[in-house]
C-alpha cells in the first residue's frame, strides 16, 4: 500500500496588500506627499496609481496612470459605483513578478471618494488580494473654508478620511488653524488630524495604519477631541454628562457648530458596554445601510457579541459592508462595542435607541 501523495503545493499564505487612498483638492499638497513617499529611503516597494502622469519621482516603485472610469453596478444598489480601471490595474499588478509592499491610489481633486472605496468591497479579486488600509485626505489650511462652502466633494473627502493631513499650516494664524480644525471635526470626529507645512507628515502616520485606525474608534475617548461642554465646537455624546434618552426639547444633532462651515455631514458614535446580540445587530445594521446607505458615507465599528470571545470588526462605505471576527478580546480591555457613522441626515437619537435595542437579552 502506498499512501496517497500529499500535494507538495502548499500555497504561500500571502497577506493582502494594503492600499492607501489619497484624496484632496488640487493644490492641497497631494503630489508633494506622493513625491515624499516615493523618495524617502524606506526600503519599501510601492505601486502608485495616479490619475495622470505628473512630475513624480520613480525609483524602485511603479507608477501607473489610470483613467478614473466609474462604473455603476447593475445590482439593484443605487449608490453602488466602483472604479473599473482600478479593478483592472490591481488585477494587472497581481500578475507581476514580485510583490509590492503597498499600493497608493491617488484620486483627482474633484473626485467623490466613494467609488474608489467601494471597489474594495465589490470585486472578488481586489477584495481577496488587497485591503483598504486608510483613506488619507490632504487639505489646505488656508483654502479649506472656501472649498467647504463651494463644493460637496471637499466635505465628502473629509468625511471619508481616516487621516486628514491639515497642510500649509504655516500660511494661517493659530486662530484660523483652530477654526479650520473645528470645521474638520464637525464633519469627521474620528479621523486623525496631522498638521503639516509642506506635506511633511511622518510616513507612519499616513501609510500602514490598518487595524490601528479602527482601534482608534475604541481607544480614543471622544472627550479628548471634544472641546468642553458649552464651548464652541462641543459635541454632545455619551460622555458629556447629560442624559440623552430623556432630554427632550433639544435636538442632539451631534454636529459641532463651526464658524466657517455649516456642515451637512456629521459623525455619530454609538457605544455600549453590554454584549450585543449578533442576529439583532446584523438585522438592524443591514436594514439601516439599505435604507440610509446613500446618506451614510462611512461606518466602522468594533463589536462585542454575546458568547463570542473574538472582536467583530466591521466597516462600510455607503451600502457596502464587510466584517470579520478578529483577535480575541484581551482580559485587560473593556468589552465595549462601538459603531461610528459618518453621513448626512443622521438622527442620532433614533440611532442610539436602535443600537441599544441590539443588546443581548
Amino acid at each position: 500500500m502506498t499512501k496517497a501523495a500529499v500535494p507538495p503545493y502548499i500555497p504561500a499564505m500571502t497577506a493582502p496588500i494594503p492600499v492607501t487612498v489619497l484624496t484632496g483638492y488640487l493644490g492641497a499638497g497631494k503630489t508633494t506627499l506622493l513625491n515624499r513617499i516615493l523618495s524617502e529611503p524606506h526600503g519599501k516597494k510601492y505601486a502608485v496609481i495616479v490619475n495622470e502622469f505628473g512630475e513624480i519621482g520613480i525609483d524602485n516603485d511603479l507608477v501607473v496612470g489610470a483613467d478614473e472610469e466609474v462604473f455603476e453596478m447593475n445590482n439593484g444598489c443605487i449608490c453602488c459605483t466602483v472604479r473599473g480601471d482600478l479593478i483592472r490595474v490591481i488585477e494587472g499588478l497581481m500578475k507581476r513578478k514580485g510583490r509590492f509592499d503597498a499600493i497608493i491610489v491617488e484620486t483627482t481633486g474633484l473626485a467623490d471618494p466613494a467609488p474608489v472605496a467601494q471597489t474594495f468591497f465589490v470585486d472578488e479579486d481586489v477584495k481577496a488580494k488587497t485591503t483598504l488600509d486608510a483613506v488619507v485626505t490632504v487639505v489646505d489650511a488656508k483654502h479649506l473654508p472656501l472649498r467647504l462652502n463651494d463644493s460637496k466633494e471637499a466635505e465628502e473627502q473629509i468625511a471619508f478620511a481616516d487621516v486628514i493631513l491639515l497642510n500649509k499650516t504655516d500660511l494661517v494664524s493659530p486662530a484660523e488653524l483652530a477654526a479650520v480644525e473645528a470645521a474638520i471635526r464637525a464633519i469627521n470626529r474620528y479621523a486623525r488630524v496631522v498638521r503639516t507645512e509642506r506635506s511633511n507628515a511622518p510616513l507612519d502616520t499616513v501609510l500602514g495604519l490598518g487595524a490601528f485606525d479602527l482601534e482608534r474608534i475604541l481607544t480614543v475617548e471622544p472627550d479628548f477631541l471634544n472641546p468642553p461642554h458649552g464651548e464652541d465646537g462641543h459635541v454632545h455624546d455619551e460622555h458629556c454628562g447629560h442624559d440623552h434618552h430623556y432630554h427632550h426639547g433639544h435636538h442632539h444633532d451631534h454636529a459641532a457648530p463651526s464658524a466657517i462651515h455649516d456642515a451637512t455631514v456629521k459623525s455619530v458614535s454609538l457605544s455600549t458596554e453590554q454584549p450585543l446580540d449578533d442576529r439583532k445587530f446584523f438585522a438592524w445594521y443591514q436594514t439601516l445601510l439599505q435604507q440610509q446607505g446613500q446618506d451614510i458615507l462611512r461606518s466602522k465599528g468594533i463589536l462585542a457579541f454575546k458568547d463570542e470571545p473574538r472582536r467583530y470588526v466591521v466597516q462600510a462605505v455607503h451600502m457596502m459592508a464587510d466584517g470579520d471576527h478578529q483577535r480575541p478580546w484581551r482580559d485587560d480591555e473593556p468589552r465595549r462595542s462601538r459603531l461610528v457613522l459618518i453621513g448626512r441626515n443622521l438622527d442620532a437619537h433614533a440611532l442610539e435607541q436602535d443600537f441599544a435595542s441590539c443588546v443581548a437579552a
Partner: protein
C-alpha cells in the same frame, strides 16, 4: 467523504505535472507543444517529454493576456504596451506596440488573419503587416472575440457590446446595450449568439439576428471562463461550485430554459474548457482541483467526475485541449502546471 479505493489522479497516470516559477496566465497548444504564458512576461513550451524551451522577457513587466495567434503561434499582451507573437519554436516577434498602455484585451482569427487589440477605448486591428485601422468605443474595451469566420469582432465594455466588421471600419456597427460592466465576450460556434461575463457575476446574452437578449444570473463568484461544447449545444460556465451549462440548442438559446449542471467542484469553478470533439469538459476550481466531466447526460443531473489533479490551494487559471483533442494542458495561479495525453484514454 467517499469510501472505497480512490483511483490515482490522471495527471499521475497519463500526464506530468511541473512547477513554473510564476502564475500561469493562459496556455495554448501549437501542434504537440503547450505554450504557457506566465505573469513574469515569459512564455514556456512543454511537450510530452518535458520542457522544450523558455523565452524570458517576451514582455518587460507583466504578461497580462494571451490568445491563439494569426497562424501557428500565440499572441501575448503586456503592461509594456506590446503585442508579441510567439511560435512553437520559441521565435518572438512584435506585432504591435502601444506605448504607455496595458494590453489586457486581445483576440485573433486564423481565418481572417487579423488581430484585435484593446487600446483604452479604441480597438486597433493588426494584420501581419502591422496596424490597419482603429475602432472607437464608448468605454474602455475589456474583452474581445472574433466570430468563427474572423470577419466580425465583438468588443465588451461598460454598457454592453459593440460588434464591428474588422476589415471595414466604414461598415455599419451593431451596439448591444445592457447596463453594467461587461468584462469578456464569446460567440457561439454558429455566430448566432454573443454572451458576456459581467462584473455583477452574471452572464448577458444577445441573439444577433434580432437583438433579443437574456440574463443568466445566480453565480456566487466571478465568472472567469466560458466554453461552448463542440456541438454548440451547451455553454459551460465557471463562477459556481457546480459547472453550470446553459442550453443553446434551439433557435431561442437559453431564453425560457433552465440551466443544467455537469458536475461539481469543492470550490467555485475558475476555469472550464470543453473538449473539441467529445462530450466531455475539464473544469478547475479555486483550490486547484481539476476534474474531467461528461457533458452527454447534461440535464440529468451531476455526473461522476474523474480527478485530473487534486486540490493544492491555488486556483486553476488556464486550460487548453489540443486541436485533435488528445492532449490537455493546465496551469494555476501558483505556477503548478501539467500536460496530459488522452490518446489511449478517451
Amino acid at each position: 467523504m467517499r469510501g472505497g479505493v480512490t483511483p490515482p489522479p490522471l495527471v499521475e497516470t497519463i500526464g506530468r505535472a511541473f512547477d513554473l516559477p510564476e502564475q500561469v496566465i493562459d496556455v495554448f497548444w501549437i501542434g504537440d507543444r503547450a505554450l504557457f504564458a506566465t505573469g513574469d512576461g515569459s512564455v514556456r513550451a512543454h511537450d510530452g517529454g518535458g520542457e522544450a524551451w523558455t523565452r524570458e522577457g517576451v514582455h518587460d513587466g507583466a504578461l497580462l493576456t494571451a490568445c491563439p495567434g494569426l497562424g501557428e503561434d500565440i499572441l501575448t499582451g503586456g503592461d509594456d504596451g506590446r503585442v508579441a507573437a510567439v511560435d512553437a519554436t520559441g521565435e518572438v516577434t512584435t506585432l504591435g506596440a502601444f506605448k504607455g498602455r496595458w494590453i489586457e484585451a486581445l483576440a485573433a482569427s486564423r481565418t481572417s488573419r487579423l488581430a484585435a487589440v484593446g487600446v483604452g477605448k479604441e480597438v486597433a486591428i493588426l494584420g501581419t503587416g502591422g496596424e490597419k485601422h482603429r475602432f472607437a468605443h464608448d468605454a474602455t474595451v475589456t474583452g474581445l472575440a472574433f466570430e468563427p469566420n474572423g470577419r466580425r469582432f465583438a468588443a465588451a465594455h461598460y454598457g454592453g457590446v459593440t460588434v464591428s466588421w474588422a476589415a471595414s471600419p466604414e461598415s455599419r456597427r451593431k451596439k448591444l446595450d445592457w447596463k453594467g460592466a461587461h468584462l469578456s465576450v464569446v460567440w457561439t460556434h454558429d455566430a448566432k449568439f454573443i454572451v458576456t461575463t459581467m462584473q455583477e457575476q452574471a452572464l448577458h446574452g444577445w441573439r444577433l439576428q434580432d437583438g433579443q437578449h437574456f440574463r443568466m444570473a445566480g453565480y456566487p463568484a466571478k465568472i472567469r471562463a466560458l466554453s461552448f461544447t463542440s456541438d454548440n449545444r451547451w455553454l459551460a460556465s465557471a463562477g459556481a461550485q457546480e459547472v453550470v451549462l446553459w442550453p443553446f440548442q434551439g433557435a431561442n438559446g437559453p431564453i425560457g430554459s433552465n440551466a443544467a449542471v455537469a458536475g461539481e467542484l469543492a470550490t467555485p469553478c475558475t476555469a472550464v474548457r470543453c473538449h473539441p470533439d467529445r462530450a466531455v469538459l475539464a473544469a478547475g476550481g479555486m483550490d486547484g482541483e481539476l476534474i474531467l466531466l461528461p457533458v452527454a447526460n447534461a440535464g440529468a443531473g451531476p455526473s461522476k467526475a474523474l480527478l485530473i489533479d487534486p486540490p493544492h490551494g491555488a486556483r486553476v487559471t488556464a486550460l487548453a485541449w489540443s486541436a485533435d483533442g488528445r492532449r490537455l494542458a493546465f496551469g494555476c495561479e501558483n505556477g503548478r502546471a501539467g500536460v496530459l495525453d488522452f490518446t489511449d484514454a478517451l
